[in-house]
């Protein structure tokens, strides 16, 4: 190839024909020829979604509970030959190496998608690299984060989102999912967002370990052809050169004179996700008939957007329990209750929360991760509501940390606490920690 077509870009020459993507697409052997209903747990659903994408040729991983089954599923399917013989799984020696590997591979070819899954200290072990990737512009890296408590004192393998929430400054687009179907659907949509030329930011779909990773339920597995047609509508050949199809340099050092400019650019790109995710989500809904990406899931909210007295905001599968119990709480406390589940946890959609919560009297925030202050979500919601004329009172509760069960009794204690707090005039409400129907700690 002595005189190849060339596109000059700000990042160097791009040789659009150096990689024949059509041949990669054609080499894809479908995992599902037709849409079908199966039973799967969250890890399996996430793994299947990755395996169905023609752009996923190379997978990488290192085991850690509760994400391991993602890796085992990828290994089993690839080794079975069901998806052909060309897809490869790379078993690396540590999570750090996995994240480095994603960086190298994503930079090598910006048109393929490179995925892995990890949890807890596994994600922490990757930090040096995930923070670099966050600013890299490599939106084709995707990390499935199966939530598990971080810190090894004490070690706890169950699901709490302290890993995801501690990594929001890494700069990835992070989505929280609840339920197997939402996990599958989110994994399919996120590369469309991350690889969008105006976003170019790596993505991190996440879900609760054990509670969702290990719980099986019904999954509509779409046909590979449909998954890929959907993605192809959104993912065009990258406009910037990768290492293989370009003359380019990535990861340069900068002086302080330029550093902030790079960071502003990174921020601009990730903030574009706010607008684009709902457009991608709407297309997904139109295509597959299920809700697509959205910033916040209104699990229980007045149809006509009427105000609620008490909004309950949290993450993950326990918010479904809250929605199921809300009828009885409304009757007992005589207040209108709304339940919201966070979907986009980074960047935090403050504007969306402010819009939805502007007329609420109070917000009961369920925090399921250890935090040095009143809770990650509580801080973000306070900031989101800052400009409201009459901001809702924020009532922070910690419960379900380390994957502890959120029983009806535990919820009842939080509702009682919120109801009481709504009656008293003081604006600042002390956070509480609730466990098995009892307040086990309260800030004095």
């Amino acid at each position: 190839m002595n005189h190849p077509p060339i596109i000059e870009t700000t990042a160097g020459a791009l040789y659009p024909e150096a990689i024949d993507l059509d041949l990669v697409r054609k080499a894809h052997v479908p995992f599902a020829e037709e849409s079908k209903i199966i039973e799967a747990d969250g890890n399996t659903a996430a793994a299947y979604a990755c395996l169905q994408m023609w752009r996923c040729m190379l997978f990488a991983g290192f085991p850690i509970t509760p994400s391991t089954k993602w890796l085992e599923t990828v290994a089993a399917v690839i080794r079975s030959g069901k998806v052909g013989t060309k897809k490869k799984l790379k078993l690396l020696e540590a999570e750090h190496a996995v994240a480095d590997y994603l960086a190298g591979a994503s930079a090598a070819c910006r048109d393929l998608i490179f995925t892995t899954a990890t949890s807890s200290v596994g994600l922490d072990h990757m930090t040096e690299s995930t923070r670099s990737l966050g600013g890299s512009g490599l939106g084709n890296a995707m990390l499935v984060n199966v939530y598990r408590a971080t810190a090894n004192y004490p070690l706890c393998i169950e699901g709490d989102p302290s890993d995801a929430l501690a990594h929001r400054d890494d700069g990835w687009i992070q989505f929280c999912c609840r339920g197997v179907q939402q996990i599958y659907d989110t994994v399919i949509q996120l590369p469309c967002l991350g690889m969008h030329p105006e976003v170019m930011t790596p993505t991190m779909p996440g879900y609760y370990g054990i509670k969702d990773s290990h719980r099986s339920s019904r999954l509509v597995l779409e046909a590979d052809a449909d998954v890929n047609t959907f993605q192809d509508r959104w993912i065009a050949p990258a406009k910037l050169p990768g290492l293989i199809n370009g003359d380019t340099a990535l990861g340069n050092c900068v002086t302080s004179q330029y550093f902030q400019g790079f960071k502003v650019d990174q921020r601009r790109r990730i903030l574009r996700a706010f607008d684009l995710l709902s457009v991608i989500g709407a297309d997904f809904e139109k295509t597959f008939g299920r809700p697509g990406l959205e910033c916040i899931e209104k699990i229980r909210w007045p149809e006509n957007e009427e105000a609620v007295d008490l909004a309950i905001v949290g993450m993950g599968p326990d918010m479904g329990t809250a929605a199921a119990l809300a009828d009885q709480w409304e009757t007992s406390i005589h207040k209108r209750i709304g339940v919201l589940a966070a979907r986009l946890i980074h960047p935090f959609p403050s504007h969306e929360y402010a819009r939805i919560l502007k007329d609420a009297k109070a917000i009961l925030v369920l925090n399921q991760a250890h935090h040095s202050g009143p809770g990650h979500l509580s801080v973000d919601l306070a900031e989101a509501c800052y400009d409201l004329q009459d901001p809702p009172k924020i009532i922070s509760a910690f419960a379900g940390m380390g994957g502890a069960a959120l029983t009806a009794e535990t919820w009842q204690v939080m509702i009682d606490y919120a109801t009481h707090a709504m009656k008293v005039p003081t604006r600042r409400v002390s956070p509480i920690v609730v466990h098995e129907g009892k307040i086990i700690w309260q800030k004095s």
């Binding site: 190849p4 020459a13 990669v24 590997y101 990768g242």
Partner: protein
């Protein structure tokens, strides 16, 4: 095997524009590697953080790497370079290699691409030993260069696990009580061989023909080729201008950095250094010109010769023993 006269006339992907110290061996090595890899194949480099990266990939300085005078029309000069975190060079390069291979396996890439990693000895042997050994163990088809200057130069010349016995570094300072570093250096050649590298070499551009031969052989290697390049560091070792290449030569001849080549399954080759200590130049010849050894060796004002400082004989003897032990171990592989 290309002829040296032809290589000299090639273009190098290492261009003017770096901020490496004048007299740094790394720029000589990069210049040579650049010319040797200008062989009609596209080249991709993966770099960890080290002097050779921070001084060559500074935005917005002209990036010191690239295709030089040739225009993008010539694909064979196409060049990509990635810097990622300190310890990551072998892993990111392995990932690039795998991506090339997986795309080639479906016919999506037609021409072969050479993939090369570069790290400092700190990046490869301290924080990145995991990365290096596992990439070797997986037989990744990359060439991994390790520029060995025995210190963490970029952060101010601190001790690195390859630091020679007796060397004064900023974290093993020579004092009245301590004769510099006394931790025996890591046997990195042995580690790389035992991890299963397809080729392990230690070679300096001070021996240009041999350097060319070894690098070209490495580029053909089917497994991981690891090349350690002893890299006299003018600022950290503190020697006079113009002595870089001479010190690199002496570092081999005195046994500090023997030229070594071992292809997997074949006997090793040890070059430009005698096994018999009596036939080698004395270690003082290498140590004397460097201030990092001045607490052990001085110049005799009358004779002009370097000699061991009175009272430091035992330390220098320890250095000699370490060198002999190391050489004997390498010769056992020959």
């Amino acid at each position: 095997m290309a002829k040296i006269i032809d290589i000299i006339q090639r273009e190098s992907c290492f261009q003017p524009g770096s901020t490496l110290c004048a007299g740094c061996m790394e720029s000589i090595a990069f210049q040579n590697i650049g010319k040797i890899t200008d062989n009609g194949k596209k080249t991709i480099f993966g770099l960890g953080t080290f002097c050779g990266e921070v001084s060559t990939l500074q935005f917005p300085n002209p990036v010191a790497w690239g295709r030089g005078e040739s225009t993008p029309e010539d694909w064979t000069k196409s060049f990509g370079i990635l810097h990622h975190v300190f310890e990551s060079a072998p892993t990111i390069t392995e990932a690039i290699r795998d991506t090339v291979d997986v795309l080639s396996s479906v016919g999506a890439i037609k021409s072969d691409i050479q993939t090369i990693s570069m790290s400092g000895d700190g990046g490869a042997l301290a924080i990145g030993l995991r990365s290096l050994l596992h990439t070797i163990n997986r037989q990744a088809r990359i060439v991994s260069f390790v520029l060995v200057n025995e210190v963490f130069a970029n952060t101010g010349f601190q001790y690195s696990p390859s630091a020679s016995l007796g060397s004064d570094t900023s974290t093993t300072p020579a004092t009245e009580l301590h004769p510099g570093n006394m931790q025996p250096p890591l046997d990195y050649l042995g580690l790389a061989v035992n991890a299963g590298a397809g080729l392990v070499a230690q070679v300096s551009p001070a021996f240009p023909k041999y350097f060319l031969k070894v690098v070209e052989t490495a580029l053909e290697c089917k497994g991981t080729a690891v090349i350690f390049i002893p890299s006299p560091c003018i600022t950290g070792w503190k020697f006079a201008d113009g002595e870089t290449v001479e010190l690199a030569r002496l570092s081999c001849e005195t046994g500090f950095f023997p030229c070594f080549l071992k292809k997997k399954g074949q006997p090793a080759e040890i070059k430009f250094v005698e096994r018999d200590a009596a036939k080698r130049p004395p270690v003082e010849h290498f140590m004397g010109p460097q201030q990092r050894f001045q607490h052990l060796v001085r110049k005799n004002k009358e004779t002009g010769q370097f000699e061991v400082r009175p009272g430091k004989e035992a330390v220098v003897e320890e250095i000699r023993t370490w060198i002999q032990t190391k050489l004997d171990a390498l010769y056992r592989m020959a």
